[in-house]
């Protein structure tokens, strides 16, 4: 009698990053699709090692009848894959660093370009140096900006002429994002069809309108990285998956994917619309390029060592992005660098309150303790109001977003509880009077006595136990000048909150977070916040800092 054939339905989700490759296996367990194995390793180790790691995990867990067949099953399984592309290089020439230059640079970096040359006519260089530098630039495209609309700035035309003199024929597209009146003049400086004229991101001294330029640069970047690849580019697929989740859940979701080299920020609305931005140097490796980063990280970490030691860690993150922090100090420096990079992504705010913040990328999603992931998201994003926090621990969102349009939503819904690891809910206010109560929170759970009211003084951080799977109602009273970012309409706010690996986080530290000037005081406060978030949520005790 022949043995019945045993079948296993599974798929392999693979996210090949610039430094780390993540793979997850989803399979049918008891009639439900579950994430049954997950492995992360340096991309350079290769696909064979990644598969071997998955086989090792599955071998001890699969049905006994499948033992010995796991490797073949994985080989036959459907592969759902996304990958990170190397961003193309851009040179920016603008009239002023503070106005046209900064607007152009922000738009370019938000669109995902790697800005390798940033020159402004007020940077103190002489003409010869400027031309020599631009002539030596190896870039895929040029961006020129300057002059207000309604004026014919000769300096703006000079910026364009500099590029015309330095760029070789056929040396990539040119984007003119300066004075609208000068557009025809700039077009004439280059061979036909090279210049694209885009709306001025600084039409006058008071207005900043980077949207059209950013959108144009996003489209240009897509052309550069080959259209056929786009459906598998992690920068696109992450947004598609977050968008699908927003539609399914009816939540306004903010997703941040902090990679080794670049970072992606996605804001998805319940109606399915998605706005995403990529920062080419927004990943951990880019921290070292931020002016004064070592001093800032040392100051914000408190326990990462002095500025010199932190500077070495930041350089290591750039030079060897696939290595792991083995000491507490190096981990602290790495996670603080993540907070700094996230904060840079959100220097213009979060476009209103959101219902859920999702963190992705190895540093966020694979933080040793959930409280560390929560702290990076809280400190980096500063989501005002009542916000759920979660991490994409299985690194499944990117690959799922690479599915065909009609399957993305299905893939997101199939994974259910395995899709994200909830950290809990954060209630974050800003403002408040120093030393006084900023908010008063009472927690109500069915069948449990009410907790509180808990009084949160300005500058305090506190965690209330609320395990994963539990929901509760909170009553929040904002006092003094404390707000959730918008004008207060009612003295009391009622909201539903859900639990997670950390719990319910009450955060009255303000936005931006204020820190004591004295070093000892600052370190003490930072350590207290760290400890409040990292203590075991299951202990049941309230944690104050």
């Amino acid at each position: 009698m022949s043995q019945p054939r045993v079948r296993a339905e599974m798929a392999v989700l693979i996210d090949v990053g610039s430094a780390w490759a993540k793979a997850g296996v989803i399979g049918q367990v008891g009639g439900r699709w579950r994430l049954v194995a997950h492995a992360t390793q340096p991309t350079a180790w290769g696909s064979a090692a990644l598969r071997a790691a998955l086989v090792d995990q599955l071998a001890s867990a699969v049905d006994a009848r499948l033992t010995g067949q796991v490797d073949q099953l994985l080989a036959d399984a459907r592969r759902i894959e996304c990958h990170t592309a190397i961003p193309p290089r851009l040179a920016i020439v603008a009239v002023s660093r503070e106005l046209s230059g900064s607007a152009a640079r922000r738009a370019a970096e938000a669109a995902g370009w790697h800005v390798v040359e940033f020159m402004t006519l007020d940077d103190g260089r002489d003409l010869a140096d400027r031309l020599a530098t631009l002539q030596a630039a190896e870039v895929s495209a040029w961006l020129i900006a300057g002059g207000f609309d309604g004026a014919r700035s000769p300096r703006a035309l000079e910026a364009a002429a500099l590029v015309a003199a330095a760029r070789r024929q056929g040396g990539g597209p040119v984007v003119w994002a300066g004075s609208a009146d000068l557009g025809p003049d700039v077009v004439e400086l280059f061979e036909p069809g090279v210049v694209a004229t885009v709306a001025n991101p600084r039409p006058d001294a008071r207005r900043d309108e980077p949207g059209p330029l950013r959108d144009h640069l996003v489209a240009l970047l897509r052309d550069e990285v080959a259209v056929t690849e786009e459906t598998h580019l992690a920068s696109s697929t992450f947004g598609r998956a977050v968008g699908a989740l927003a539609t399914l859940s009816g939540l306004r979701i903010l997703g941040v994917d902090l990679g080794a080299r670049s970072a992606v920020r996605v804001l998805a609305e319940p109606d399915g619309s998605v706005a995403s931005r990529v920062r080419a140097r927004g990943g951990l490796a880019g921290t070292v390029l931020v002016s004064g980063a070592a001093a800032r990280v040392a100051r914000l970490a408190g326990d990462a060592g002095d500025e010199s030691a932190v500077a070495d860690v930041l350089q290591t993150l750039r030079a060897r992005p696939t290595t792991l922090p083995q000491t507490v100090e190096e981990l602290s420096a790495t996670q603080t660098a993540a907070r700094v990079q996230l904060a840079a992504m959100f220097d213009e705010g979060t476009d209103g309150s959101v219902d859920l913040v999702i963190g992705a990328g190895r540093t966020l999603a694979a933080a040793p303790y959930p409280g560390q992931a929560a702290r990076m998201l809280l400190d980096g994003v500063r989501p005002l109001g009542v916000t759920q926090l979660a991490v994409d621990a299985g690194a499944v969102l990117g690959p799922l977003g690479s599915l065909p349009d009609d399957q993305v939503r299905e893939g997101v819904s199939l994974l259910g509880e395995d899709l994200l690891v909830p950290l809990g809910t954060a209630i974050v206010c800003r403002g408040g009077d120093p030393g006084r109560t900023a908010m008063r929170v009472t927690l109500h759970r069915a069948g449990w006595p009410a907790v509180g009211p808990v009084e949160m003084r300005t500058g305090q951080l506190q965690v209330l136990p609320l395990p994963r799977g539990q929901v509760a109602e909170v009553t929040i009273e904002l006092l003094g000048s404390a707000t959730f970012g918008a004008t207060r309409r009612s003295p009391r706010i009622q909201a539903m909150v859900s639990g997670g690996a950390v719990g319910l986080i009450l955060d009255a530290r303000g936005s931006p977070i204020g820190l004591p000037r004295r070093g000892d005081d600052r370190r003490e406060v930072l350590a207290a916040w760290r400890d409040a978030l990292n203590r075991d949520a299951a202990a049941g005790a309230e944690r104050f800092a």
Partner: protein, 344 residues
Amino acid sequence: MSVVHRIPLPVGATPMVEVGHVVEPSEVLATRRTPRGGQAIAVAAPLRRSAVDAAACLTVRPGTFLDAGATLADNGRGRVVRVPESCILLGYDRDDGSALIAPLSGSQPVVGHVRGEVVAMEPDAIEVRVSGALVGGVGGTGNAVHGELRVAVHDPAAELRASAIDVGATGRILVGGSRASAETLTRARAMGVAGIVLGGVLDKELRDFEATQVRRRELGVVRGDFAVILLEGYGKVGFDPGLFAWFQRHDGRLASLFGADARLYVYDAEPAPARRMLARSGERVIAHRRPHAGLAGELIRVLDRPHAFGSGVVGRAAVVRFDDGRTAIVPLANLEATEAFPVG
């Protein structure tokens, strides 16, 4: 062994070599005329036109290269404005009727700093096949330089001291050890050292050194080129002993160092000890990141299960017996397998 090195050509450069030429590090591969400071030329007045109307008389557009005596503007009635010397037209001022030009300097050499055979000529680059070994680094600073290698420390973990740099180091590329202070780098540059190869350096000291050099260059005090390359990491990080032994064997060989690109070519050299990620049991390894940065040893075994390190990070791990006698569990991702190389 050979590698192809690409030398970018600036816009307007004129190549001086052809495919098949054998070139030396000091050889001029191309010439270029760099623009000098801006200069205004009256256009409207000689043409007897208003400043606004004269704009229509320009015969070339900004960004154009012009030879000496070339026509810049023509009113169509016999009045012509010519440029006095070779230049680039940068713009026209409609307020005062003058054109801004950037006169071009005399011919300046483009030096490749590598020895080898020209294998390709492209509009924007020359490719040279270099016979020798390429050693890549994790960081560096400075221009392209070349010179003889000279090992300046006795131990791969030793620090390169300022006192070790004497007149005998002038024009050479020194192979230091685990660190060099900003003071040492400054002295090396002052003594005419071409470049320094290090296992590691404190990022802060490297930045301090760069900052002083930028300031001195602005003051016109610093001349000549100087480069630094880091092979292992940032901080006090020793060399892999095998790689150090390889440098010792090639002491006196000609080398080219590209600091900013973190590349070092050593001519007529056997391949440098190879590195590979995902080390296996029994292999020689070098560790990166604290607390074992720069330490070499033998990988005893890879742990079957993921390991939680002191930081709390969980990952694949290996037991390593370091050459200093210590044994430690290290993240596998922090190890590179190194090719064994006879030491001494």
